[in-house]
């Protein structure tokens, strides 16, 4: 399967600090999760991928075009790109429809009737088609997040980059989001940066974990979860040297990592367990 995106030995520095350090990976159609602790370089990576910024070293190609090429080449990438930033500040006086309509113009939908039809389509995809004329400021936090997601779907882009898309969504909205995303992934490539490991398990085919600006893991989700097999324990008390422990809904205490005490039961691992096992020690070192 041809690569949609290719990161090749990419380094990005802010001053003397390498926020991304020699990062390489390819993306193919499907949904890839991008996990990592705060400050791992996820948002920087998405900025490079979306042509918002440039790498100091290495090469990034998207759909065959270099992100550090001339404006015409970057424009070709932007025509095929949908991007949902982590934080969206909405203009105060606009309606939901007006907001999406304006962004559609920025995505070169210059035919008014076709543009309006596209806006209605993406509003329906996120379940806001019954409220097109409502002012954005009157929408709830979850509705605003869905509206922001809607703009990224305009034009059915070949590459969809989503930064924390489910923040602020209630469980029902999150389920709808997952269904929309799964449908979308049949035709294109999606990179989903998130802290919601349940979303990764639910919709992603592959997971990349960034730690300290480097790729700490790159593989399919099943393999990632399997890396935590026999390292997650259920017991009546926490495992002393565990990376993390919390109360299990089924009763007892769930411990991730550490040396199991006598009587501890191995529990089926999750994406979150695998992530904590991978990142936990690094996070502790980073805090020291």
């Amino acid at each position: 399967m041809p690569s949609t995106v290719r990161f090749s030995h990419v380094t990005r520095r802010y001053g003397p600090v390498a926020v991304l350090d020699d990062v390489s990976f390819d993306l193919t159609p499907g949904i890839t999760a991008l996990l990592g602790p705060n400050g791992a370089g996820k948002t920087t990576l998405l900025g490079l991928l979306s042509t918002a910024s440039r790498a100091d070293e290495g090469e990034i190609t998207v759909l065959g075009h270099r992100t550090d090429g001339p404006l015409a080449e970057r424009t070709e990438i932007r025509r095929r790109l949908g991007f949902l930033p982590q934080e969206v500040r909405f203009p105060a006086g606009m309606t939901a429809f007006g907001f999406l309509d304006y962004i559609a113009v920025l995505k070169e939908w210059d035919d008014t009737s076709a543009r309006h039809a596209e806006v209605r389509r993406v509003l329906a995809l996120v379940g806001l088609d019954d409220r097109p004329t409502i002012k954005v400021r009157k929408l709830s936090g979850g509705q605003r997040r869905r509206l922001a997601f809607a703009q990224s779907l305009i034009g059915d882009p070949d590459l969809l980059i989503l930064d924390e898309p489910t923040t602020g969504l209630d469980p029902e909205q999150r389920a709808t989001f997952r269904a929309t995303l799964s449908e979308r992934a049949r035709a294109g490539t999606v990179l989903l940066a998130t802290h919601q490991t349940e979303d990764v398990a639910a919709v992603c085919d592959r997971v990349i974990v960034l730690v300290g600006g480097r790729v700490a893991h790159d593989g399919d989700v099943a393999g990632f979860v399997a890396s935590a097999r026999d390292r997650v324990w259920l017991h009546d008390r926490p495992v002393a040297d565990a990376v993390a422990t919390w109360r299990d809904p089924a009763g007892g205490v769930r411990s991730v990592g550490g040396t199991p005490p006598t009587g501890a039961q191995a529990a089926p691992p999750t994406v979150e367990d695998a992530y904590l096992l991978l990142v936990g020690p690094a996070a502790v070192e980073g805090a020291a």
């Binding site: 690569s3 979306s50 190609t61 075009h65 970057r74 790109l81 105060a92 210059d110």
Partner: protein, 302 residues
């Protein structure tokens, strides 16, 4: 073979027309709907009412209405329109339509207050032409061309310059108070450079709004009218060039629009502005003239 060559090249058809055309249409419509603009428009034309029925003389003081209510208000209107569109653009991340195109759309919307101000000036000029007895102050002694240049600059170009300045301000800073601070700063500068102070009379034309005469008074006669030195024709050209400079500066705020061509345009415009303002200072009426004076004694220009 490079990595780029090993990947499939994807291209999308170019849009039928430049994006700024559609953006201009949208921004013109939105400017027309701004309450601040509509209130300013209503008050500006309401200021004409006392003149339409009666023999009240018109002078450049009449031009304060469009300059303040459409021009200065336009600084804030434009700046907030730019910031609103910036928020939309930020929500979408990088898009094929770049910031410079959006800026051109906003600059096109500046024609809305300009045309409103132009209408005001044309009505005033037509009235002064058709009813000569109502020409007041310097309009009584100066030529039609001289009066038209002053009024067009003060009453119409100011309605273009204010909103263009608003676009520039919004492109240079995100501080919410910036449009108000700019407006207040401009008012203070105009007061200082209005021509009241003798040492500043010749250089007053560097400002985008200044007086060319009025009842400034002289020793022993505080109501005496004065015509200030300089060429309003060249000054009109100067303020138009300032608007063009503002437009180029605003477009060049987008790093992707900083082409050699736009830089050359900026240098050429800056050169034209210097030439025009120097000619506005040193041609036309040679000295400050205190009325009443015989019209033939005036050295008019521009």
């Amino acid at each position: 073979m490079t990595a780029a060559e090993s990947l499939p090249i994807a291209t999308v058809a170019e849009p039928a027309r430049p994006a700024w055309v559609e953006l201009a249409r949208i921004e013109v419509r939105r400017y027309l709907g701004r309450p601040a603009f509509l209130i300013g428009l209503a008050l500006t034309y309401a200021a004409l009412l006392p003149y339409l029925d009666g023999d009240e003389p018109t002078d450049e003081l009449s031009m304060i209405a469009p300059a303040a209510l459409l021009g200065m208000v336009g600084i804030s209107v434009s700046a907030h329109r730019v910031w609103a569109s910036d928020r939309c653009a930020e929500a979408a991340g990088p898009t094929p339509v770049v910031q410079a195109s959006r800026t051109i759309g906003h600059l096109a919307a500046c024609l809305v207050p300009f045309l409103a101000g132009l209408g005001f000036v044309l009505v005033t000029l037509l009235r002064a032409r058709s009813v000569p007895t109502v020409r007041g102050g310097y309009a009584e002694v100066m030529s039609d061309a001289w009066v038209a240049a002053v009024w067009l600059a003060l009453g119409a170009v100011s309605c273009l310059g204010g909103p263009v300045l608003g676009v520039v301000v919004a492109r240079k800073t995100k501080r919410a108070a910036a449009p108000i601070v700019t407006t207040v700063g401009l008012v203070v500068a105009v007061i200082v450079f209005q021509g009241l102070f003798e040492p500043l009379r010749r250089v007053r034309v560097v400002l985008p709004w200044t007086y060319w005469g009025g009842p400034f008074g002289v020793d022993g006669d505080p109501q005496r009218s004065v015509v200030l030195s300089g060429s309003p024709g060249w000054w009109l050209a100067y303020v138009l060039v300032l608007c063009a400079i503002g437009a180029v500066v605003a477009v060049r705020a987008d790093v992707e629009a900083r082409t050699a061509r736009s830089r050359s345009a900026l240098f050429v415009l800056a050169g034209l502005a210097v030439v025009a303002v120097v000619l506005a200072m040193f041609t036309g009426t040679a000295e400050t003239i205190v009325s009443p004076v015989p019209g033939g004694a005036l050295s008019e220009g521009g």
